[in-house]
Symmetry: C2
Subunit: 680 residues, 2 copies
């Protein structure tokens, strides 16, 4: 066991493979940040780990105490706490079953005992989180029941076995162990090892609207104008597949019939305050100008008749980046990176596990890392021009916390969509419960509520020409028929999106902490309160930055929301009610309201809502101080869009409220504080 | 390529593993039957097969013509035609996604070009059925589009690539190639290689009723009497987990509190004409009398705190068989073998892939074969006493066609349940769309309709004390509240089950052909008409024996059924309508009616319905002759229950109708022919 930073250890068992996430993705650990944290001993000795092999795989057995709970393993839409479960981590675009198939497999799991384990493998590794009880094991000798054993009406989910990690094809593996005072600390160190969390541009914290797929330039400009006229806040205007001459596979070329003047359109959108974003995927169509150059740096199987670039090769990276740099220069702020996952059962697209790539990877390994490599390649033009970007991605893996892309899915169950935020936060990932369509006004509003308090607010309306708040019914939307109460629905949506805009300063600080300290901006409350048993299965409530808990109603569960508030004093944002924590609260939630709770001592900085965020935006801030004592918060002051924060830390403005007055450590032109309200 | 029988070839690539289905399951090929069939050349040369390896797996590439369609691969509930799809064959108790997870993975696929391939591996092999287009391949050169490519509104499902089979952990593999004149012929030869299809006892073709799980001896006897009083046909009376002292894991011992006199109860049930059947699974509880003996012949991990027997070892087989022979002797006719699959996401029970077994198998290999080994062990007491048995099983694999167990599942989607019969038939398996509960009278009746024309009619009513036709609502059933129209519903159900009893002679012949010729008794019409494109995706209609097509309404699809009748003349069973085939027909189907179509020339032998089948049952037969010409059928005459048919072929009684008279080749006491009806 080799210590590589404070609280970070590395161990190698057997002979690791040539291609692993650490080797392929080349993270730049934030060693200075890691070593500024207190040192921390490992939770177990190396000789407590068993390493054994069978034909075609190696297995690690790590001690797991029955009191521990495990989380992480990537984006899990169907489960949160992994104790008692097994997951085979496999990239899959349709993860409808809770087997480990996921858009983002991350071989990192983290324990409530305050440590996390990164298994450096690009294989479809299986994690058995305490569900295997071996004969003669400690758990056997001490009489813990097997997982899945029925006692009365309960199935034992935990406490029955150690943690087993089974890695196919490998003959050895390297583990990274991240230790800390708590689970959150371990996640933070893992994120810092990956380079720290992403710090998006200010505009990335506003609202994304993705437009009707078959729409042409005229449609786009009409819609863009309407959003402004309707005073619907919107920062990012996204175009879906239709912008290209061929989308499945991609040409990465404007369709001049539908978009006769892309430069003019992009300029006009920019002038209206929009940041244009383009959809694409990585499979290169024969008609693409880069097809010929990609031929000798792509895999040996097609996807949708397109080449699959080997983004490990310099040539594929260069050709792809350069082509996209030209598109960026046209005025594009970012991209939506679709289809980097693999379909096992919608239309069976994707390259096989036995595909081979010029770099030497096979298909299985490539499936694990392709989405993250794609993100690397697509952010390069922005890095090179000292601009931040922020977009969406459909595949990710380990060590991706610093990448400016948020995961999304074609699956659409709302409970799953809300739950995704919880597992993502434990895995160094960001996830958006994006809004596409709805079957009712209630569903539309509930979905937008959750999106507003998520890492990225995306209204992905590519299926309908008119925004869904004017008509959520697909057929009627296509016919141009509006909801009878569309003005009311629009007003509710407008207020919700304005609330997102009010939250931007608070979110910007939360994201900066993601970069600086590795703390996920949106995370399950278990992460802040690991010792509260009532929170260990809570995945529909989350902490946003410091002191703010959001509990959006999951569509389909009625209008009641049940929330466990940890010990201490909390305040209901909407009516200021003072609540003594340590128990469950339940409330009826009207449509358009997102239940929010503030921890005593929190100073919440809310901005006047803006229609969109400019680089020189000035926020008019009202401070909300919760409880009698001193309350404080930090605001982040920088240019909001360049990569300068990487070398020159932004201003951290400490705002403190004492009684009915407040002080500001260093005034900054970004923020104009207009007042303070104290809630007792 | 070595020829091992007429139309059967074997090829080995690399070094095959020590443990494979053929080696483990030791099939007894029916060489005499195979060699009585015409010889047939292989569809490709050995040098047209590519064999290559990557780290941790080997891959086979077999030529696939764009015109071919592939079927099989085991029990697939979510798909039927496999062309354009990939399946990773993995035992899983909750196969809710169409990835290849299944109760019964069978590494056998069969082509409309008239050949089938058995890949002799117990690994979780992946089959890519033409969905992979390799660069430079024939398909690439000839311009076939990739699978999943969208053209207009269509996704290309086929024609894009060869057949790739990827086998993890192995360094080589043996293939068996079954050739024939048609897909059906190839399936038949595969079944004959596995020993021929099962020939169940006559009583196994009647009705199975499985009783309320918590019910005691009193409840069982009351229910058994009621079924007789109500004149509900029933042959097999099944007890669910409650009969044992401990069920999860199993003790295989009567709970003397609930069942104070099992011998008396079983005798009484027998006297009433029932064949008692007991539920169990293979995981041995510490309180079981066989636990100690099983300790040194079980795997190294528990399931539900029970031992997992290594049924490859002689000792495990002997101990398990002997214990169950004593239960058989009490008057038990068979068993329901539950839980031999593996739960990935209900309660995460099961042993891990890295488990190890005394025989040398690892968990992955054992998961593929355990259910079939379990069937071997459980049928041994019956074989040894020269009695046939017929029960249910939850896991199966290759080469299992001769085993007297029919697959079932906890999943319950009716479309899936009906579809299961189609893929099972292409894979040497039997599947029952068993009836458990319903949300309406309509659902109950539609489900029973499909069960009546399936390989095994199972009413698995373990959740409710009163049969569901008296009350399908769970809560009301528990309260003892009956349906207001329960007499009507019961009458409809009674008539449906009586129809099953009328079909028994026809089914018995169909099953005998399964044994003798390998022809599945219930099969998709594609199998009989491989060249009819309209039938290639039909999995909700099937052929039963010769000349009879059943098209039960799938619950949830309304009361209309659309059926494609192949070229030729067909007759509607219910109204005798003469139909000219070669096109689709659609009809409104009243509740309680199963659409049935008879091919011209068919002589259907229907019996007077009996409440149950005794070994000396005599059937009163009415013959239905379809069309003007001569019609004939075969009836099977034997003792109906012993294994003598294996050494002494039963009488095959040829019945021929000419005009309005009929002849019988050899009269047999089993059948009394009462009359002939001719339908023109």
């Amino acid at each position: 066991m080799i210590q590589i930073a404070n609280g970070v250890y590395r161990m190698t068992f057997g002979t690791p493979e040539a291609f692993t996430p650490v080797g392929i993705l080349k993270p730049r650990p934030r060693f200075e940040a890691l070593n500024a944290l207190p040192d921390c001993p490992p939770p177990f000795r190396e000789d407590q780990i068993r390493f054994f092999s069978r034909r075609g795989s190696v297995t690690l057995e790590l001690p797991l105490d029955p009191s521990e709970d495990l989380y992480g393993l990537g984006l899990m839409l169907k489960s949160f706490r992994q104790t008692g479960l097994k997951k085979k981590l496999r990239t899959n675009s349709d993860p409808t079953a809770d087997t480990g198939d996921t858009h983002a497999p991350v071989p990192f799991c983290v324990s409530t005992a305050g440590y996390g384990i990164l298994v450096d493998t690009a294989r479809y590794a299986s994690f058995h989180c305490g569900n295997v009880k071996k004969r003669g094991s400690r758990q056997d000798r001490e009489g813990y029941p097997s997982a899945g054993t029925q006692y009365g009406h309960w199935w034992v989910k935990s406490g029955s076995g150690n943690l087993f990690i089974d890695i196919p094809a490998a003959e050895g593996v390297t583990l990274y162990l991240f230790c800390g005072e708590s689970l959150k600390d371990a996640v933070a160190r893992y994120n810092l090892f990956g380079g720290g969390g992403v710090f998006p541009p200010l505009w990335g914290l506003g609202v994304f609207y993705r437009a009707y797929m078959p729409g042409d330039q005229k449609h786009v400009m009409k819609l863009a104008k309407e959003l402004r006229e309707e005073e619907i806040p919107c920062d990012v205007f996204g175009l879906e597949p239709g912008w290209q001459t061929h989308a499945y596979s991609c040409t990465y070329q404007w369709d001049s019939e539908r978009f006769p003047d892309p430069d003019g359109m992009l300029t006009e959108l920019r002038e209206m305050g929009y940041r244009p974003n383009l959809w694409e995927h990585a499979y290169v169509n024969p008609a693409s100008p880069i097809f010929e150059s990609m031929k000798d740096c792509s895999g040996d199987c097609y996807v949708w008749d397109g080449l699959v670039p080997d983004f490990i090769t310099e040539k594929a990276r260069d050709v792809f980046s350069s082509h996209h740099d030209a598109i960026r220069k046209q005025g594009v702020s970012g991209f939506k990176l679709d289809e980097a996952d693999n379909s096992d059962f919608t239309a069976n697209w994707g390259f096989p596990d036995f595909a081979s790539f010029p770099s030497g990877l096979d298909g299985e390994q490539m499936h694990t890392v392709i989405g993250t490599l794609y993100q690397q390649v697509m952010k390069k033009p922005f890095d090179d021009s000292n601009e931040r970007t922020f977009g969406q991605c459909r595949q990710s893996t380990a060590l991706a916390s610093s990448y400016p892309y948020v995961l999304y899915s074609d699956l659409y169950d709302h409970a799953d969509f809300v739950r995704g935020m919880a597992s993502a936060a434990c895995s160094g990932l960001l996830w958006t419960p994006e809004v596409r369509f709805a079957g009712s006004t209630e569903e539309l509003i509930r979905r937008i509520e959750a999106a507003v308090v998520s890492p990225q607010t995306v209204l992905n309306c590519y299926q309908v020409p008119t925004p869904p708040w004017r008509q959520w019914d697909y057929e009627k939307n296509m016919r141009g028929e509006l909801l009878p109460d569309c003005e009311e629905v629009t007003a509710t949506v407008r207020e919700l999106l304005r609330f997102r805009m009010r939250l931007v300063p608070h979110l910007y600080t939360a994201y900066y902490r993601y970069y600086r300290d590795g703390i996920p901006p949106v995370r399950p409350p278990m992460m802040d309160y690991p010792d509260v048993p009532e929170l260990r299965d809570v995945s529909d409530v989350y902490m946003i930055g410091e002191g703010l808990m959001a509990a959006p109603v999951v569509y389909g569960t009625g209008d009641r929301k049940r929330v466990f508030l940890p010990e201490g004093i909390w305040y209901d944002f909407w009516d200021g009610t003072r609540l003594e924590g340590g128990r469950f609260f339940e409330k009826t939630v009207p449509l358009g309201q997102i239940p929010l709770f503030l921890r005593e001592g929190t100073l919440l900085a809310l901005a006047e809502p803006l229609p969109c965020l400019a680089d020189d935006t000035v926020f008019d801030i009202t401070l909300f101080a919760y409880g009698e004592g001193d309350c404080s918060c930090t605001l982040i002051g920088d240019d909001g869009h360049s990569c300068d924060y990487l070398t020159k830390p932004p201003a951290e403005i400490l705002v403190t409220a004492t009684g009915n007055t407040y002080t500001v450590s260093t005034p900054h032109p970004r923020y104009r504080i207009r007042g303070l309200k104290r809630i007792l």
